[in-house]
């Protein structure tokens, strides 16, 4: 500071920005802002997909923790006793045993059928773990004593006009309609549709449920379950809950929602992340090229001026520093504008969410990701600004002064 190097850098940079070409300045800031948007937009959408997917896994498929049969066994034995024990574990807020079996469901009106996994549960227990009871679009949720009634997803119910269906359906089942269910043991039984639920998840809305009592009447379940869903206080606490359950002496397989869900959408998310990484890299290259060109043109136009400054005794570090400060200013403005644009896009997409197979996606801004992209952007920009500035500042004074 004593030799005036840094104040002169700042002094020159401030005046170059203030008295330079406003149009070029605005355009450069806009380009950097768009780079920030591009670097973060896809991860914002991926974040939204992951968030809704995770929420659906917890709310409709796995709870926070899922208990599955031991290795090489098909059922969890003594499931009622296990459910009662699990409810006593601190941190457990709900437990529901599921018994699933393959079944062919046929629409009695038109004969259309679908082979699905039919799941039985105790409706009272189920409401403590999943959120189906909150997503009934037509009719009612199952009650504990219900027999001869079935709850089906909106996509399985489908539409009379097949063209409107997203997945194969029963061709327009409504509440009160009758469907027949053919079980694996050869039993065929008719059910009245009590309710139709809609969660926006394709897999989930293609499923069907009956009460445990109803399943017992068709095929003796003998206190068995194919899985037990456990809900805790929060998704983040699932790992601790898992170990609490294991420490309680449960010998069955215990897995968190996260461990269960990895396989299904994990590959898709990994692919999205790869795309995002490629896009980030391309954006960084674009940003560095833009900053390089802007700085280069700026410096070439001021080559003579740099020569003059050197001639009158301004150190080249001060000259280079002034260009780096200008780059920092451009980047800072670009980053701020980019974050504002990103937030604007996020707000628009929250009001008008994107529709994905698992439902409506609202973007999730990952601030740690934004921070990383900003750090990378500043780093490449400073390098891109430094190279041309250093080259010209190292030129012979008289050569530079010739312009």
């Amino acid at each position: 500071m004593g030799d005036g190097r840094y104040p002169v850098s700042l002094y020159l940079a401030v005046r170059a920005i203030r008295r330079g070409n406003r149009g070029t300045l605005a355009l450069t800031i806009l380009i950097i802002a768009l780079v920030v948007v591009l670097m973060n937009f896809l991860s914002m959408i991926i974040g939204g997909v992951v968030m809704i997917y995770n929420q659906q896994m917890i709310d409709y498929q796995y709870g926070h923790v899922t208990i599955e049969p031991k290795e090489k066994e098909l059922y969890i034995e003594n499931s009622d006793g296990l459910v009662r024990s699990l409810t006593r574990i601190p941190g457990v807020t709900g437990v529901s045993a599921h018994l699933s079996t393959g079944a062919t469901i046929t629409n009695s009106k038109n004969g259309k059928f679908q082979t699905k996994s039919l799941t039985a549960f105790d409706p009272g227990d189920e409401t403590t773990v999943t959120r189906y009871h909150l997503r009934i679009m037509e009719g009612d949720f199952l009650s504990k004593g219900d027999t001869g009634q079935i709850l089906i997803g909106s996509l399985l119910a489908g539409n009379e006009d097949e063209a409107e269906d997203k997945v194969p359906s029963l061709g327009g089942v409504r509440v009160g309609d009758m469907v027949s269910v053919a079980y694996g043991n050869g039993e065929v039984k008719s059910y009245r549709v009590k309710g139709i639920f809609e969660t926006e998840g394709v897999l989930i809305d293609s499923s069907a449920f009956i009460t445990r009592r109803e399943m017992d009447s068709v095929m003796p379940t003998e206190d068995r379950a194919t899985e037990i869903l456990v809900r805790g206080t929060s998704a983040a606490d699932a790992g601790r809950l898992k170990y609490a359950i294991m420490n309680y002496g449960v010998e069955e397989k215990v897995r968190t929602w996260n461990e269960k869900g990895k396989g299904i959408l994990g590959d898709a998310i990994a692919s999205f992340s790869l795309l995002n990484t490629i896009m980030t890299f391309v954006c960084l290259v674009v940003a560095s090229v833009v900053v390089f060109i802007v700085t280069f043109i700026n410096i070439i136009n001021r080559r003579k001026q740099i020569g003059i400054l050197k001639a009158i005794g301004i150190r080249r570090q001060a000259i280079v520093g002034s260009y780096l400060l200008q780059v920092l200013f451009l980047c800072s403005c670009g980053v701020i504008a980019g974050i504002l644009i990103l937030n604007g896009i996020a707000m628009v997409l929250t009001v008008f969410p994107l529709r994905f197979p698992m439902g409506y996606i609202t973007p999730v801004i990952d601030y740690s990701g934004i921070l990383l992209s900003i750090v990378l952007l500043f780093a490449v920009s400073l390098v891109s600004g430094y190279i041309p500035a250093w080259r010209v500042a190292n030129e012979e004074i008289l050569n530079a002064m010739r312009g």
Binding site: G4, V8, R19, K304, I308, L309, A311, I312, G313
Partner: protein, 233 residues
Amino acid sequence: MIEGSGIKKVYRLGLVEVAALKGVTIRIDRGEFVGIMGPSGSGKSTLLHQLGLLDTPTGGKIYIDGMDVSGLDDEERTRFRLKHLGYVFQDYALVSELNVLENVAIPAIMQGKPLAGCYASAASVLGKVGLSDRLSHLVYELSGGEQQRVSIARALVNSPSIVFADEPCANLDTENSRIVLELFRSLNRDLGQTIVMVSHEAWHREYFDRIIFIRDGLLDEDRLRQENPACTI
């Protein structure tokens, strides 16, 4: 005092070598107003650039106030120029993004002096060159003569021991040339400022204490003896 011995400068243009200075030995005393004159392409400006540390000679030695400056590295030369030398160029060489006051203040700011003090010094020097009313003007708002006076003010702001002027009147009309030359003469006479000026205008010689003639990269000794009978080279 400036002493140059055997100063050579060879430019390489591809495979061709052009000797602009072929071994010039000169001495300029403190407080002198010296003109360097000669025909076009004789090496006047090249000599000034070597003496003013704007270029590095191919051979020979240069001493300023007893210090061998020919061996300084780029960083040291920059620092030396800032503290001890001032420059006035033919095309004024002002920074277009700075106003008049800022252009003059910038060498002082580079010395690390407080900004207010730098502005005060700059305003004072600008007052001496008659531009007190133009401090906040951008340079393109000034006439050629005014721009050259800003350039002179900038050269003086750090109170250098020597001011080098490379054809400062080349782009000026006679009236403005006279103003600039009078300014140099008063700085030299009143403040004892050493000034080394390149010129090819014959009528400028009336302002110089002494003239160094250059021809084909060498001192024109015949002309020197003729013009400066008492001079020892």
